[in-house]
Amino acid sequence: MIGLVDGNNFFVSCERVFNRKLVGRPVAVLSNNDGCCVSRSNEFKALGIPMGTPYFQLKNREATGELSFCSSNYELYGDMSRRIVSILRDEAVDVEQYSIDEAFITPPSLEALGNGERGMGNGEIGSRSPFPITHSPYLAYGRRLRAKILRWVGIPCGVGFAPTKTLAKIANHIGKKRPDGVFLMPDDPTEILASLPVGEVWGVGRRLPVKLRASRIITAQQLHDAPDATIRSIGGVTLLRTVMELRGIPCCEEKDYDAAPDTVSCSRSFGTPATTLEALEESMASFAAQAAAKLRRHGLLASGCNIYAQIFAAGGGGDFVGRTVAFPVPTDATNEMLRAFRPEVTALYTPGLRYRKTGIVFFGLEKPGAPRQTDLFDTTPPTGRSRLYKAVDALNARYGKGKVFSAAEGIGQRSWQMKRSKLSKRPTTRWNELMTVR
């Protein structure tokens, strides 16, 4: 059995724990740079304002007091998510965090969950589940889990149980709409799958339903029943895996989160379009510092990087310009990277243009000591370099991100930083932003 636990309207729910004035109101949390709605309260959804609606289109309705908005407070959401996962780790046999607001869990066995409600129903002997579905110990367990998270963290969750992840996703969606927030997929899910459009099945995506429709596959049940050959010809092995999951056969591999990444990258849009070389240089230096810290966390060296910028165009879009830089020797030291790519930023910059976005992607990642050609003139003793950045990382971990930085990142007003004009306090990660009580 697999469970999927996810926070309802997670970002909005996090904001509401510390700002009770938002309870019962139409509230949305905005994306980076206060761009568009990424999390909406039920009251906000009820007004028919879709996900992704740009903030500027709704500003006048905020001014009248009808709608409320918050900037993305990732520090808060990350901490609340960490609390939920830690509760799940205490209560479940295994936890796989899937995203900031969702986690798959392996619940304890039926024996371990006890016989709490066994006496209440007349279990059919010989059927796969000894419990009538409304009295399953999984439901009682799910309700307990949900109540605990609500009390300890203040976030309402949906919980769905099923034999596979894909079915657990569907069960979770149904659970969320129920008053107790929990749903267990019945042994025979035909009725549920028959009323579910294929596009809503996890992993099917947006383009496949068009192709599937041509083969008269419209509901999840029709997908479930389709011949393997048809499925393969439409969506390959990936879709076949999804179908196996619908049939109750687990096929989803556990994502290996600890695996070393192939590339490490960092990018961001400017709050207002950038026009100066300094803005480009400083933003890229800062992203390089963040990405390099990530490389060091994974114990990896980068062989080179791509730097790029997007030119601002009215109405969205805009061309990308980029440069590829190979480092003299693979490195994880921010200062060596800066030295290598700074001339390329100058080369990439055209005066008079406005830039929407910059970014950096490190590639050719390897473990130190991997066989490679060394630079005859690389005279930096590697220990000295790694000690410097070990100290930098430790200081930044202790005193907050970005306390120690390269001068190249700039010290003035950082116009390229994320715009978060409606940022709430970060009461669980910053001593100077605690919630106050009177």
Partner: protein, 132 residues
């Protein structure tokens, strides 16, 4: 919370330390004050409404959301959109929130009104030099 150094007794030369077999990890305030990290929050006191209970302006409170309030507990609740620290009272007259300072009024919940409970205060940290 942070990484803890492992204490191992590899002494290169000299006499073995007589204290070695008695080595223990040092005392940790987190262990004492934070029983359930996932349910624990820190909040800052503003004002003197609880001065009679030893809670002063600027104090740091340790709050455990997992604990249900009982009569006489110091709790954090939200009243009309603002968070407040008060003593929780529950008897035949219903629920009320009592300040520990006669200059402040008792907050009474009218019939049918539900208490917007945040958590129970489990400790008060009062620092003598400055508020931070």
């Amino acid at each position: 919370m942070g990484a803890k150094a492992k204490v191992s007794g590899s002494v290169v030369a000299g006499f073995p330390s007589p204290a070695e077999q008695y080595l223990e990890p040092p005392l940790d305030l987190n262990e004492l004050l934070v029983k359930r990290p996932a349910a624990t929050y820190f909040v800052r006191v503003e004002g003197d409404s609880m001065s009679g209970a030893g809670i002063s302006d600027g104090d740091l409170l340790v709050v455990d959301r997992s604990l249900r309030p009982a009569d006489g507990d110091v709790i954090i609740a939200n009243v009309d959109g603002d968070f407040t620290v008060k003593t929780y009272r529950r008897d035949k007259d219903g629920i009320r929130l009592e300040p520990a300072n006669p200059a402040y009024p008792v907050i009474r919940l009218h019939a049918g009104q539900e208490l917007d409970y945040f958590g129970k205060v489990t400790a008060c940290i009062h620092r003598f030099a400055g508020k931070k």
